[in-house]
């Protein structure tokens, strides 16, 4: 599979199961998605973020500087029956990328979820608030430095009739 003609020059690699994987920089990201959309990828199937804190030495193609946070977008072309995966390195401390809301309105909830659970900021998102956690929650639970919050199993006396 080829990149669309008007896409910015990005590094690509074949992902597992032959989806095309693209590694744009943060500046190229929005343009690349726009080029794909113009090329017939009608649907933004999935958008999520990954925190690579404990897996920093992951395999990325040459020329890509891995950062702690990565935003992964799966686009789907229904006419061509193809998928493409875009992995953008979002930064180490305060991850921030452009929002895809103007291209795919359907990415709104998914971006809000990535913001809520991993703290990735999407520039240009209409309503970047928490979506799954309570409003007054602190921290972003899917980050690797956020504990699972395991509560030790405890066996207590039966409370008796109340």
């Amino acid at each position: 599979m080829e990149l669309p003609a008007d896409a910015p020059a990005v590094i690509t690699a074949d992902a597992l199961r032959a989806d095309l994987g693209c590694f744009p920089t943060r500046e190229q990201y929005h343009d690349l998605v726009a080029a794909f959309k113009a090329d017939g990828f009608e649907v933004c199937a999935d958008l999520c973020a990954v925190d690579y804190l404990e897996h920093a030495e992951r395999a990325v193609p040459e020329g890509v500087t891995p950062t702690r946070f990565e935003v992964v977008v799966n686009l789907l072309s229904m006419s061509r029956r193809e998928r493409v995966r875009i992995r953008v390195q979002a930064g180490d401390v305060e991850p921030e990328v452009d929002s895809l809301f103007d291209l795919y309105p359907g990415s709104e909830a998914m971006e809000r979820e990535a913001f809520d659970l991993l703290g990735v900021i999407f520039r240009g998102h209409p309503d970047l608030t928490r979506i799954l956690m309570p409003e007054d929650w602190e921290g972003h639970p899917l980050r690797k430095d956020y504990g699972t919050g395991r509560v030790p199993v405890q066996f207590k006396e039966a409370p008796g009739p109340r």
């Binding site: 009608e42 999935d46 925190d51 992964v72 309105p105 709104e108 919050g149």
Partner: protein
């Protein structure tokens, strides 16, 4: 006599103080930025075009008094714990915003704590109406990372079970949809037929819901003896009964008035929002992953992809009803062509040795023990696998770091994405139609919130 209490503004604030979610909720118009306002009034395709007037609705507004009301999270017709805030002008919905997260279970985090062997237990609880399909997309992702082949019989068992599950899920939908529209008999019928399938699930997997039956490498157990007869009975009964539903609902004038032409969505809007499943097919887009990107053995069986024309409530109903019939057709073919052989991969890496060998051989015992305590290691990499759930594209994105647990597991839940169509579908509809909208979008909150 004491003074009657007057509900002042402060009192109202105090009443909602503990359950308020602040900016996650629907705000007054003055407090909402224009782009968000556009989203809440259901403008999808026009987003990005600068001159957009959110007051421009398709009917005459009575006056300027609008009211924001809250529906849910504990409301009988929101199918679980969905909460929707609506801005109403009299009976007409102007804006809507779903507020979700009331069932957020942290499954993606829990998935990182469980090994690949245990993972299926976790994902199966997401979309609790179609557990097999959750497990399937997860297992297929793990298998792709491992690079193992699943034996023929397992593939066909998986296919049959997913179709049975699709039927049971659509039956619950028919039941609750009937309930929402006041047809209580449909509620009873839907659940009655579903019991047939659940009984078969119980016989096969040991549980009625949350089966944990499809696992990486195959399925947990072979089909029980005499399964052909059971499945035969299920197919015959349900196929016949779908015509009863037809009689009960399809031609019924009250039902039709509430469904036909209500809450239409166009193909363009559906694609922009990324919705999939019956919601997308109702607009006429023939997109069904079983056909368009076949997995398992769906390319070897005969079935039709049902599409609608108008994208309204009635199309969505008709698609689901007919999908039950198509699923019966697929199951009949599975019944005929079920191959013999292993029901799970014989790769010792993922499959424990048979019970009998554990008693005889020390290695087998150690192997068994290791597999269930530590689990198997999966080569580093990342994969996205998608299957067609009763609600749309169910995807699973797994990142592996080479260890026995997923480094990151993300699930693309169809209901989560489909829910974004609610403001669009509700716009300009009356309050009573809003209920049918929630019902025909069919969100499963376990999957929305994960």
């Amino acid at each position: 006599m004491s003074e009657p209490t007057v509900r002042t503004a402060e009192r109202l604030e105090a009443l909602t103080a503990e359950t308020s979610e602040g900016p996650q909720e629907l705000q007054r118009r003055e407090a909402t930025p224009a782009s968000e306002l556009g989203r809440e009034v259901g403008s999808v395709v026009r987003i990005g075009d600068a001159p957009f007037n959110p007051d421009d609705v398709d009917y005459e507004r009575a006056d300027d008094e609008t009211m924001i009301i809250n529906m849910g999270p504990s409301h009988p017709s929101t199918h679980g714990v969905l909460r929707i805030m609506l801005e109403l002008d009299g009976e007409i919905v102007l804006r809507a915003k779903p507020v979700i997260g009331y069932l957020h279970t942290g499954m993606e985090k829990t998935g990182e704590m469980l090994s690949y062997v245990q993972g299926a237990t976790n994902v199966t609880r997401m979309d609790y109406l179609s557990p097999v399909i959750n497990e399937l997309s997860y297992s297929m992702a793990v298998e792709a990372l491992l690079g193992i082949e699943v034996p023929e019989r397992a593939v066909w068992i998986r296919m049959m079970m997913s179709e049975l599950n699709r039927i049971s899920s659509h039956l619950v939908w028919m039941a609750t949809n009937g309930m929402d529209l006041g047809s209580t008999s449909m509620m009873i019928y839907g659940f009655r037929e579903r019991e047939l399938i659940l009984a078969f699930f119980e016989k096969t997997a040991g549980l009625r819901l949350n089966l944990n039956y499809v696992r990486p490498g195959g399925v947990a157990a072979d089909l029980p003896d005499g399964w052909e007869d059971d499945v035969e009975v299920i197919c015959d009964t349900i196929y016949e009964r779908t015509f009863e539903y037809d009689e009960l609902l399809t031609g019924q004038p009250i039902f039709r008035q509430r469904m036909v032409g209500v809450a239409p969505i166009s193909a363009e809007e559906a694609l922009a929002l990324g919705v999939t499943g019956p919601l997308l097919r109702s607009t006429g887009v023939p997109w069904d992953l079983r056909r368009t990107m076949p997995y398992l053995a769906y390319d070897q069986v005969d079935f039709d992809v049902i599409v609608g024309t108008y994208g309204d409530n009635f199309d969505r109903y008709a698609i689901r009803l007919n999908e039950i019939r198509e699923s019966v057709r697929i199951i009949r073919q599975c019944l005929e062509r079920m191959p013999a052989g292993d029901y799970r991969s014989q790769d010792p890496k993922v499959t424990p040795p048979p019970r009998a060998r554990i008693g005889e051989s020390m290695e087998a015992l150690i192997h068994h023990f290791k597999l269930f305590t530590e689990g198997f290691h999966v080569p580093a990499g990342e994969v996205y696998s998608a299957v067609e759930s009763p609600r749309g594209e169910h995807g699973c994105y797994i990142v592996s770091d080479g260890g026995p647990k997923p480094y990151r597991m993300h699930v693309r839940a169809p209901s989560f994405v489909n829910l974004q169509a609610i403001p669009l579908l509700m716009r300009g509809a009356s309050m009573a139609d809003a209920i049918t909208v929630i019902s025909t979008v069919d969100p499963i909150m376990g999957e929305v919130d994960r």
